[in-house]
């Protein structure tokens, strides 16, 4: 019977109808399977910070309650409610009330690598002396110091790399292409490029330096577009909340909107492709400095709004940001810093401009006045 339980509980096992019947009828067999389930739970070293999770839970509720409150204010019902509404409106105009969160930090998760079935694969990140903010991930590598080294069972296994907020990295693909991933992005890539094209999938944002191969076009696929190149440098921005945006730094690219596949556009260096409301590709001139600066390890903001700068800081360091003075959010500022500096240093440099005052609280929030 233990042999039976062992067979049934094998990961990804093809279960038979007979095994199902036995399981339903034999309580002892079910108990043995349960023992494996329980044992797995005990052996799994899941690093979870309960206090942090509790905080996160209440934060979500606080925001939900604040939103409901704001809604009540704009409706304005009975006399007493109208009174409270008036007071709340007055208070919020004076910016003395609890200020809305500008950026909310995510739960702290580490970058992780999963295989095509969704199971975790060991991830090794190497120090990058040229750009310390972007540790290097080498595609097609499977190294585990505790067990003998082995390779993926299929040579061109596709993996999915998640880079959460607070992290960034550089992925070196099998063909020599380098991909600089932004915080809050995911890249799916194979361990080696077979076939007649080199295909990767991206959610979020990345800067690509593609190795030249005229015979094998390199294709970046997002949920909304395809970008095809042979050897070149370009930036892809594909977040759900903003417009799709592909900017060419040098070389040549062909850009295809998934909604409108017949009208591919070819970009020249310095141009940017986006998708308009009707799904058609549109081309315009772009400032490439911010993208090449990222590649070189810098945050580059030239006359950008304080709101945009703060949002980038929030994402790069995975920190929540509250703003007590809404008017400064539309100020324009010049802010160029290395990406590998610690958060308090980034805050100090932000304050140096004299246009705002940001302060880090003990519980890791940034308060801006």
């Amino acid at each position: 019977m233990s042999e039976q339980a062992t067979d049934i509980m094998e990961p990804n096992a093809q279960l038979t109808e007979k095994q199902m019947d036995d399981l339903r009828n034999d309580e002892e067999l079910a108990d043995e399977c349960r023992d494996i389930f329980i044992a797995a739970g005990i052996l799994a070293q899941e690093p979870k910070d309960t206090e942090q999770q509790l905080e996160r839970f209440h934060k979500r509720h606080f925001i939900k309650r604040m939103r409901r409150l704001a809604y009540k204010v704009t409706i304005s019902i009975a006399a007493s409610a109208a009174c409270i509404a008036a007071i709340l409106l007055y208070v919020s105009h004076n910016d003395d009330s609890k200020s809305p969160l500008l950026v909310e930090a995510d739960a702290d998760i580490q970058p992780r690598l999963t295989d095509s079935r969704g199971y975790a694969v060991p991830l090794k990140m190497y120090v990058n002396s040229q750009s310390p903010a972007d540790p290097i991930v080498i595609a097609g590598e499977y190294k585990n110091t505790q067990r003998p080294a082995t390779v993926f069972s299929t040579v061109t296994d596709t993996v999915s790399l998640l880079i959460p907020k607070g992290h960034s990295c550089r992925v070196d693909l099998a063909d020599g292409t380098k991909v600089f991933l932004h915080p809050g992005s995911r890249l799916n890539y194979p361990s080696a490029f077979g076939g007649c094209s080199r295909k990767v999938a991206l959610e979020g944002e990345a800067y690509f330096i593609v190795a030249k191969d005229e015979k094998k076009p390199f294709i970046v696929s997002t949920s909304r577009s395809q970008t095809i190149v042979t050897g070149t440098e370009f930036n892809v921005k594909s977040y759900n909340e903003t417009k799709e945006c592909v900017t060419l730094i040098n070389g040549k690219v062909k850009f295809i909107s998934n909604q409108n596949q017949q009208n591919a556009v070819e970009l020249l260096p310095g141009q940017e492709a986006s998708i308009d409301n009707s799904g058609m590709p549109a081309v315009c001139e772009a400032d490439t400095m911010q993208y090449t600066a990222w590649r070189d390890g810098y945050h580059y903001f030239d006359e950008a709004t304080v709101a945009d700068i703060l949002r980038q800081i929030g994402t790069s360091y995975n920190v929540s940001i509250e703003c007590h003075n809404r008017s400064i959010l539309s100020y324009h500022m010049h802010y160029v810093v290395r990406r590998d500096i610690p958060l308090d240093e980034a805050v100090r440099l932000l304050n140096k401009m004299g246009k705002l005052h940001a302060r880090l609280t003990d519980d890791g929030k940034l308060i801006v006045k």
Partner: protein
């Protein structure tokens, strides 16, 4: 205020074990995190008519239902879903959950007594989801050796269970 204190106490006590429970079923850190948070949200909504004693059962039944729904949504095999439902069926009633907590303590002691190779095999297969053939290749042994270790451990667990029942 009193409700928040009660809720926080319940959260602190059960969060981790619920997360582990969910992750064993759905094998996805982020998803497990979300599923557990969803259950606590439902608890929060009902915190006025929940007494602390029945909170654990409420959370487990809620989580179990959500995890199985997630498997269906992800189109996991019918039989795998059935297997999951059967294995986790003992986290439904208060009495059963209590029994499972005791069982967990027993198995914990057994695991501590297991030799490292056996523990390694369990971790590879049931935590990292390696098939027996993969685990065998990684460790440089045969599949039958892998299974032998597992079967022996299961017999040890069963013995321990029988002894405590007498």
């Amino acid at each position: 205020m009193q409700n928040k204190e009660t809720f926080d106490r319940i959260f602190r006590q059960y969060y981790r074990q619920l997360y582990v429970f969910a992750n064993r079923i759905v094998a996805d850190d982020e998803e497990s995190c979300d599923l557990v948070h969803d259950c606590f949200e439902e608890l929060w909504i009902h915190i006025n008519d929940t007494d602390e004693q029945s909170a654990r059962q409420f959370l487990y039944t809620c989580l179990r239902r959500k995890c199985i729904d997630h498997l269906r949504h992800k189109e996991a095999g019918q039989r795998y879903i059935m297997l999951t439902a059967t294995v986790t069926s003992k986290w439904d009633t208060e009495a059963d959950i209590e029994q499972m907590e005791q069982r967990e303590q027993q198995i914990k002691e057994c695991i501590e007594a297991l030799k490292p190779p056996t523990r390694e095999i369990f971790t590879l297969c049931y935590v990292e989801h390696k098939k027996y053939a993969e685990a065998a290749e990684l460790l440089g042994v045969s599949v039958s050796t892998i299974k032998k270790h597992i079967v022996r451990a299961l017999k040890y667990f069963r013995e321990r269970r029988k002894n405590s029942e007498t």
